[in-house]
């Protein structure tokens, strides 16, 4: 889908390309410390990335390239769910796998719910959530013998 006839130019794409040129340069510099065998491949990729990014910038300035459609929906929810996932995985060792997962599940539940909270809904959702988390935890731990980290709790 190249929307070459659309008036909006892919400014974001140019920005990303500049970052990629920078990254390519850093990679080439970093690979100079590796041995002959280990540096060939990263260096080639670095050069290819720079070339491709330059090609893309040229393409956009010639009026080609594909820009991305804007998003609708809630921005804070997007950021929040990512932060929850990040905290969740960082806390696995600290709190223990099960505790961190129960907390993470609840947080994600709060973010994902768009309806009004009623006592009945709260009880059902929490019950189902606990069943999913504990059930899979037991399946993995007991049947499939996956060892889970135990932190402060389980």
């Amino acid at each position: 889908m190249s929307n070459s006839d659309s008036p909006s130019r892919d400014v974001r794409g140019i920005f990303a390309s500049c970052l990629i040129i920078l990254a390519g340069g850093l990679i080439i510099q970093a690979s100079s410390s590796y041995g002959m065998l280990g540096s060939v491949f990263p260096r080639t990729i670095g050069v290819t990335m720079i070339v491709l990014a330059v090609v893309y910038i040229v393409m956009v300035s010639l009026g080609k390239g594909a820009s991305v459609a804007p998003l609708d929906g809630s921005r804070w929810r997007r950021i929040a769910i990512f932060c929850v996932l990040l905290a969740w995985t960082l806390l696995l060792d600290v709190l223990g796998f099960l505790t961190a997962s129960l907390a993470g599940y609840c947080a994600a539940l709060l973010i994902a719910n768009f309806d009004h909270w009623t006592p009945r809904r709260a009880i059902t959702y929490c019950g189902v959530g606990a069943a999913v988390v504990v059930g899979l935890f037991l399946l993995f731990g007991q049947v499939l013998k996956v060892p889970f980290p135990t932190g402060m709790f389980i």
Partner: protein, 501 residues
């Protein structure tokens, strides 16, 4: 039919029971993101030690087959490949599920998997010893060219700009170099972190790249996660069968590709599904529908990855070289059982081998009823789940799955970071699939290049080593044609359009 006298061993009630149990266990494990076919087999191997070798092999083969197929469920319903082999199933499966055709997609995946599994099994039965030599014709140089050929698939996988797709491919290749280099032993791009010494794991990266962006978008809007069509979900078997019959050529081609890729040690189900998917797209009359819910895409991917099961057993049994990673586990189990593999296996232990091969073929047929039932149940329960519960459950599965890959918390963290990166990249117009392609093919390309270079230097001519070998030349020609094809077809289309006007 070779070894037909052993067919009866494979249809005893006990053998059938084992096959059904193996398929069910495999499907469930394969459907959970993060649990691969390799893990399914490894986890269940101890249960087979008490069994007769032929039956034990049937059990392992059924688990393997079931797990590869099971990967399609989460691919279709959650946009997350349950196993890496199901990457391409997400491309069309998830769009179909979103528009309310999830039941059709699941039935298609089931039919294609059964047929792919059967074709792979028949190749194993009829042509195993001659086909095994294919594995030996592929040296480092051939793998290098094959990986480069695989990278040209970026052009058919990238939506939007091909240049952006190529940049994404480079990012994937770069990710594949992180950690201790296979050849040469350099420690690369770890930033001094011990956690990154082992490199980026493909499975946890896949979960991050495909599932986290979906999750982020899932919670952003209150619209339902799947379109409800108002009718009760059913098998839609007749409709699916019509699609499959119309796509018989695609089905055969994909299954043959799957078998051959399975035979090559060093390639696997993910590569088989990528190659056959892009071949299907290239040959299709409606390539523009691919990636938007085209049944042919699911058929190509699922028949190819299940055909790798039979294909992978060919070098495993004939040469003692595992064709795919799960085969490595099965080979280990065979050694523990005291079975010596090799060309003599087919004569000296014909009963074991043929019992197993017939068992595998029967297991792939059994996948039809089991797969349809499990699929229907999974689909119906997924539609009914409210979004508020679906999102946290999916989030938990991504964390659990990426942790369980190597039982490592930093791999879960890696998954989240890569996932966030993938979402941001998506906002800049870079899609996930080329990154995945680069990540999977990177180490094959690099290993092949460096080894080929060393062998060439020892032989006195690097150029002859890279360009002078017959199979290399064939792959190079395919590579060049693959690169030129989009240009040629665009020109042909333009001409057509001009003529129409």
């Amino acid at each position: 039919m070779p070894g037909i006298e052993y067919f009866l061993n494979a249809v005893t009630p006990f053998a059938l029971l084992i096959a059904v149990a193996g398929i069910v266990a495999g499907v469930v494990i394969g459907a959970l993101p993060g649990l691969t076919a390799t893990m399914a087999v490894a986890v269940l191997v101890p249960f087979t030690f008490g069994m007769d070798p032929g039956i034990a092999l049937i059990a392992l083969g059924a688990i393997y087959m079931g797990a590869i197929y099971g990967g399609a469920y989460s691919a279709i319903l959650l946009n997350t490949p349950g196993t890496p082999s199901a990457i391409c199933t997400t491309f069309d499966g998830y769009p179909m599920a979103k528009r309310g055709d999830g039941d059709l997609a699941l039935t298609l995946a089931c039919l294609a998997s059964v047929i792919g599994g059967l074709i792979g099994g028949v190749f194993l039965l009829m042509l195993a010893p001659p086909l095994a030599t294919v594995a030996l014709r592929f040296g480092p140089v051939e793998y290098f060219w094959l990986a480069l050929f695989g990278l040209t698939l970026i052009s058919s996988l990238s939506e939007g700009s091909v240049v952006k797709g190529a940049i994404g491919g480079c990012i994937g290749l770069l990710l594949s170099t992180i950690g201790v280099a296979e050849v040469g032993g350099d420690v690369r791009f770890t930033g001094g972190s011990t956690a990154l010494l082992g490199g980026i794991d493909v499975v946890s990266a896949l979960i991050g790249l495909y599932c986290v962006p979906v999750l982020i978008e899932l919670v952003a809007t209150p619209t339902p996660h799947m379109q409800l069509t108002g009718r009760v979900a059913s098998f839609r078997l007749v409709e699916a069968w019509r699609h499959v019959r119309a796509a018989w050529f695609n089905l055969t081609r994909s299954s043959v590709i799957g078998t051959i890729v399975g035979i090559l040690p060093g390639a696997g189900g993910s590569i088989a599904s990528l190659v056959s998917y892009s071949e299907a797209r290239r040959a299709s009359k409606h390539p523009e529908n691919f990636g938007k819910g085209e049944p042919d895409g699911i058929i190509a991917s699922e028949s190819a990855n299940n055909a790798t099961v039979g294909g992978g057993f060919i070098p495993t049994l004939v040469l003692g070289i595992p064709g795919t990673p799960p085969d490595a586990v099965i080979l280990g189990a065979l050694m523990v059982q005291g079975i010596r593999v090799g060309p003599q296996l087919f004569t000296e232990q014909a009963d074991t081998v043929y019992t197993f091969i017939y068992g595998l073929i029967i297991a792939s047929i059994l996948m039809l009823p089991i797969g349809l039932l499990v699929g229907r149940y999974a689909f119906q329960s997924l539609i009914r789940v409210p979004k508020a519960l679906l999102a946290p459950s999916v989030a938990f599965m991504t964390v659990l799955g990426s942790y369980a890959v190597h039982n490592n918390t930093h791999e879960a963290l890696q998954m989240v970071v890569i996932g966030g990166f993938a979402w941001v990249m998506g906002r800049f117009g870079f899609t996930a699939s080329p990154i995945v392609l680069g990540l999977i093919l990177g180490s094959i390309a690099e290993g092949g290049f460096v080894q080929g270079h060393m062998i060439g230097t020892a032989k006195g001519s690097v150029l002859m080593e890279f360009f002078g070998r017959p199979i290399s030349m064939v792959i190079i020609v395919m590579l060049v044609l693959g690169l030129l094809y989009p240009l040629l077809s665009r020109r042909a289309k333009k001409k057509e359009r001009v003529n129409e006007q």
